[in-house]
Structure formats: structure tokens, C-alpha cells
Amino acid sequence: MSAPVFVVVGHPNKGKSSIVSTLAHDDSVRVAPDPGTTIAARAFPMRVDGEILYSLVDTPGFQRARAALQWMQEHETTAAEHAAVVRAFVREHRGGTHFHDECELLAPIVEGGGVLYVVDGSKPYGPEYEPEMEILRWTGRPSMALVNPIGGDAHVRTWEDALSQYFRIVRVLDAHQAVFDQQLDLLRAFGQMHQDWRAPMDRAVGVLARDRERRVRRAAERIAELLADMLTLSVARNIGADAAVEEHKAELEARFQDELRALEQKARRDVEALYDHHDLQRVEDVSALRQDLFSAEVWHLFGRSKWRLAVIGASGGAITGGVLDASIGGLAFGVLTGLGAAAGAALGWQAAEWSSSFQVFNLPGMEKVGLSGRRLQCGPTRNPNLPFVALGRARHHHRLVASRAHARRDPLVVDTEEAGALNPLEAAEERAFHASFTRLRKAGAMTDAALRERDALADRVHALFQRDGA
């Protein structure tokens, strides 16, 4: 049995290519507001290891539906011959220019394809649609109507009433907003068009769901890799034995921040590619996603607040001071506990702001062989907030990319408030991430311990993504 073929047809410029682009996860499909963007039928086979489970076919819109229907009516004998007449029409006019678009869209249907008739639910119903629906009825093929409310749903109800007179199944799907689960629902519904198509479509949906899980996991691994790289990143330069360290700090810090940004940008591109967004436009100037990694707004949006870090610091300091107090038999009357808490709080408060970690290594005797005598290194950062900021941003970006329909051609825009709402981690999650970040810092780069910890971090990020509904 051959795999089902679903031919997406309709009036010109009513979102056929948008539907195909979204269902096929193909952002290379030209989706334009001008009619006539699609000039030839184009197949989008869903293959699993080379085996085709189903195909979508994008087609041009009807251009001369009344004339085509008139030709068919002139050649009609009985209702039983309608399908044969449509086939004859295609045979007669294929290769010509007058009914080029009609032949392009009808050919895959008469060859055995199912009909997916697409209309725009934001525009009113009109009599110009009836000849083409009549032609599609004449084909005798299994069919479904799809209302795509491109610019709103003002006329969806009217359309559903009108379409139900021609099609047994009528569904509504906004190609620009449809999330993955809605896409799977629609594909499952395709299987209801014909009894022979149910099994292959159920199988295809199962494969797509599992493939999606794999992509989510890979995205989590990529984010874990990014976080590990950020936590172990350092840049260094040799400086003269007598050079002023402060003079070189600004330059080195700028380099360090540039490299952090580059790591984040690369990870974003990789995550987008994982979800088949190869041509995604990202504008880097307005929204939260586009905020610079080091802007104060983003730092406080995704990272832990100053007060929170101060409380954490105070707790740690108080415990340390308490231990010291206890060790001297309470002779300090709890003063050390208080001092420890105050010092911890101050450190926590300071840690909420961006700060670099600098180290200077002395290289004695190097001047004698013409080399610099000291090495100034920026990073790895010890700031507790950086990985939380990076995680928050990555998670936010992932959520946007994973839920973005491939029909959309607008740049990726992120709402700041929405981003902030995503920020909170549950207390247990936050503790687990903090412990993971600490272990990654200690393990350094490319060690067994680091890679084991990275895998564990990927598990945590994966759980977070699943909670986000990826």
C-alpha cells in the first residue's frame, strides 16, 4: 500500500504554503502576502530512514475555477463519471498555460491524493470559492477542510458552516501559532480521512513525537554544554613583570565577556537548527532575548535577586561564625556568628552584580628568555549568578524556538514580562542547579567528572524544558 498523500489546495494566497511550512517544519517555503507565490506543486514527504510515511503537497491556487468547472460540466455524462472527467481535464490541459495552476493542483489528487482545502478564516466567505469546492467534490477523493485564521477569526464560524456542506471534516488551525501538539493532532486527523490512512498516520505521529523528544533532549544537552563552557571559560594574556595589572584588566574583561556572548550566540544557533529553524531572524536590540548578556536588567531578570543572594550569603556566614563560636566555647557570646552573617550577606549582595575573576600568575625567570614575566587571567568566573542568568536566557530562547511555527517569517521577539514570568525556579530546582554549577566549576573542563556533571545538568535542564511544555 502506498503512503498517503495530502494535497493542500485552495484559493490563491489563503495560507496553503503556511500550513505546509508549519506541518513540514520547513522554513524555506516561500510564504508571501502576494498571490501566485507558489507556481508549481511541491512535495514534502515525511521519511523515516528513507521510508515515506506520508506526503504533503503544496500547490498553486485556483486561477480559473469557473472555466475549469464549465469544461468539466460540458464533458459530464453521469455523476459516477465525475472523477473520470476531472482526470480527463488534467490529461487534456496538462502542459498548457491556460489551466496550468488547475492542472498542477489537481494532478496529485487524481493520482490518489487526499484533499486538504485551505481557506482564510479572517476573510469573509464568498461565491468565488464554490466552483473550486465543486471541482474538488467531483474528484471523489477523501477530503478535509482547514480554516486557517491568518489575520483573525472573525469569519471562522461562517466558513465552518459553508465548508461543512462540501467536506465531512472541517478543522481550524492557525498555521502561525500552531504548537507541536496541535500539529500532531491535525496529522492524526488526516488519518480519519480514509480508513487505510489511519495506521500510517498514527505511526507517523508516533515517530514525530519521539523525534521531538530527542530534539528536546539534544537541546538540553546543548544548553548544559553552554553552561559548562561558560563556567570554565577563561582568557589570559602575558604582561610584563612591571606592567600595571589594572591597565590590562578592562581589555581582558571585555574579551572575556565577548567570548561568553559568542558562546551563547553559538548555542542559540545550534538550538534553532535542532528545531529546523535555519533561517530564523533574530534582531538584537529590543526585547529581553535581545538584551545583552551583561545588562543589569537581564542580570536581575534571570539571575537570583540581590536580597536572595544576601540571605544565602548571610546563612552561610552565620553557620561558619557559629562553628567558630562553638569551637571557643561561646566565649565570643555569638559575636562571631553575627560577624559571619554580616560578611556573608555583604558578599551575597555584591555577588548579585556582574564581576569578573582575575588571577595573576608569576612566571619567574621568563624575562631572561625574552618573555613576559606575568600572566593575567580573567575567569573562570566565581560569580554565582552568571549560570542562572545564562540558564534563564537559554530556557527562554528555547521555549520560544520550540513553540515557534515554521510558517512565521517575522523576527523572533520576546516579551520581557513573559520572560520574567518564566524565571522562577522551584527551591529544590534552584538548589540542585546551584550544586551542579559548583561541581562543574570545581571539575574544570574536559575531565571525566566535568562530563558526568554535564550529563546530570542536561537531565535537569531537560526536566525544566518538559515543565515548560516543550
Partner: protein, 501 residues
Amino acid sequence: MLTTILGVALRLDRDRDRPARELRERDRAIGRARKVSPKHPVRALRAWIDEVAHEEDRAHTQRAITALRTTGLLAVLLGFVLGAGAAAAIYSYDGSRPINILPAIATFVLLPLLLLVPLIVQLLPLPVPGWASLRESLAALGAGLFALAMRVLGQRHRELVMSALGRGRAHQRLFAGLQKWVLLSSAQTFAVCFHLGAILWLLGRVLVTDLSFTWSTTAEFVTAERVHALTAWLSTPWQTWLPQAVPALADVRATQYFRLGEGSLGAGSDPALLGRWWSFLAMSMVVYGLAPRLITAWIGAIGRARAERWTLLHLPGVDDVLDRLTRWDVRTQAEAPEAMPSEQEATHEARVDPASLEGPAVLVQWSMAASDAADFALRTELGLDVRERLAAGAGYALAHDERVADDVARALAGMQRGRVAVLVKAWEPATMEAMDFLTALRRRVGDAVGIVVVALRLQALGAHDTDDRDVAQWRRRCTALGDPWLRVAGIDPHVATQERP
């Protein structure tokens, strides 16, 4: 394993710029053909590299591995030669003076034990202050020795070995562990060969010649009792099952040698005793020289195998290869490129002088485009005075369109400077059917008669805001007809009605 590591690394370099889809297709086909499993990643990568290795890379890999093996073989030979040479020097005996066993114990027992210390430091990451620094220093020393050893090789061999163990600084962190274990295991192999060479030389000499062993010292505190205590302690591992290799105190006393004059032996000496030391010396060399090195060589081999596996599985890009080999290749995208529409160049702007629109007009409502306020907008915005109203397009037969065109021509004949207005829905696309009607209309009314396509905005229906894009799209389509007296205008009756005085 090194062959696989190098082959995989080279192949990954070659694949870096190849399209992801091509790689997935290729690798999944290999994965299915070779039935690889994600549970056995090394086996999967071996199968993969068997299939995809480039001929040039294969040859390069082979050369590199041969260079590495040659280096290893040289280390083995050098170990044997140096071991035998050291034994020849220490156990040198021409019959004039007996062999002093104390230098032999120092060289083949104490020194090897001492040399085990840095190795233990390297292998055991103890949580002792300063331990890590010590390990780093030893690692640096090891790297220095490795670099020195590489200098001994020729330029070509050096490059090949380095390519087998890690390619440049970019992969230095990744290959550092592997280099350490290769160096460590090679050093242990060398040490095993050294001790084997020395032991075999000693046994050979014992078999084919007579040797005399004594011990000598100038230090007063090195007494026979102390030498015996040392030998007894050293003999502990074999004293129960090989007592003949454990020197007795009397024998130790008897074999002390003084070189003064012709030379003399200690009290109770018997020349027959002088040969009995060999079994003790041979056992000491086996137990304290060879055996520890066999153990460290075994640890080195295991460590190296683990490091090789670790390096292979953590090469950048290997995760992707394994994913491509073992996971379904799921594709939903188009396989053929999209056909591009040809650019339709307008020969001229489709417009007429706006002033010429003023006057009487025949209105054709296309596909039931209608609005109560349309007449007012046509008059106020375009200056058209609609005298006759006709309908064509959807809802009618094609023949009806032809008749409407004729009716328009007839109606115009009775008007002075009459115009034709075709009212269309701006939100519906300008199909070829509409263009066919405009063409037929032009044929009927003749040239120079102004035809204006009036695109009714959706806003007129109070539902949605339709932007100028729809009107522009009608204008583009009409422009392509090449009719110089054809104009497209958009009207918004809703707005016009609101502005009505």
C-alpha cells in the same frame, strides 16, 4: 583504538562544512547497514569510520600509527639494550675481582623502588595539600621528557606521532589525558624491558660462566649484620618457597671482600659461597624491579585503553555522529527546490489621468463585490457618476461575463466620455479569471476608454482592517496586462461615509 581516534577526528574535520541533511542520510544508511547500537558506541564508530574514511586519511592514519608503533618498538629495544648494558656494567667480572652486590642492589632494587614514587603520585589523586601541585609538576616534567623524546625522532616521524596523539592546541585539552597515558604506558613498557634485559643478561652469564659475588664497603656502620638484615628483609617475599635464594648471616660474613693487596674474604670464607648470591640477586631483580613494573605496565595499559575510549567518545562532533548512526532519520522537508516565479516586468504604469475619470460611468460588480456606501465613495473619491450597474464573475456563468462586456460597450455608446468601473473585493486575490474579464472588456469597449478597477477594502464591511497591500497586489496584476488606460484605485466606503458632510 588510536587508528579509530585519528580516523574519526580527520573525518569529522572533513565533514564540518557538509550539509547536515547529507550527513544524516549517509550516516543513518551506515548505521542501518552495519546494525550499530547506541549501547556499543565504540563499535559503532569503528563501523562508521570503516565506511567513511577518506583514502588520504586512511593512509595518513596508517603512517601515524606505524610511526607510533615504531617509536614503541624502539622503546622496547632500547629498554632491553639499556637493561642488559647496565647489568653488563654492574655484573662485570673477569675473574680478577669478585662482583660487589651492593651496587647491584642499589641499581636494580632501590632505584626502581624510588622511581615508583613519582608514578604513584601521578596515579593517586590524594587529598593532601601540595599533592596536586606535585602532580602538575610531574606532568610538566613528563611533557618535557615527551618533547625531548620527540626531538630524537625525525621531523616527519615527530609530526606523525603528534598527529596520532592530538592535533594542535585546539584539541590539547581533549588529548592531554591520552598523551599522559600513552607516555605512562610506554614508560612502563620500557621499564619492563629494561628489567627483563638485565635479568636475562644475569641469568645468561650465570648459565655460561662462573661468577663470584661479594660485598664491600668502607663505611663502618655497614656491618655484615646490617647487610644480612637488609637481604633478609628483601628476601621476605620468597623466603618460604625459595630458601636457597635467602643468604644466611654466615654467608654474608664470609663473602665480605677487602681489596687490599691481593684481596681477601671475611672469616669462614669458602670460594664456593661466592657464587650463591646470584639467586638472591635474580629474585631481587624480579620481585623489586620487574614485578612492580609489570603491574604498572598493566595499569598503564588499562588506563591507556580507558583514555583512548574516553578521547574517542568525546571528540567534538562524535555525539552527532552517534546520533545520526543510531537514531531514525526523520525528515519532513521538501526534497526539491521551490520553483521561482518569473519577474513580470511592467511595461508601463497602469493609470489614466485622474481628471479623466470624472463623469458618467458603468459599474460592474465583480464576484458580488458590493457595499451600500460604495456609490458614495465612487462619487466622492473618484468623481464617478454611476449611471448603470451590472454584475459578473462568481455566481454567474462564463457566458454571462461575455454578455456583460457587450452590455457595457452598449451602455458606453450612449454616454459622453463614459468610463467603466469594475468593483472588486480587495481582500480576494486578482485571479486570472478576473484578468480574463478585464481583457474581454477592453476588447469590447475599445482603446482610450478609461477602465478603473476599484478595490473595495474589507474595512467597508466593518470586520477587518485590510491594508494597502491588497490594492497594491491588484495593481501589480493589472499592470501586467499592459493596458495603458487601466487604473486601479482603492476605496474605503466606511471612511468616506464617516466623512460625508
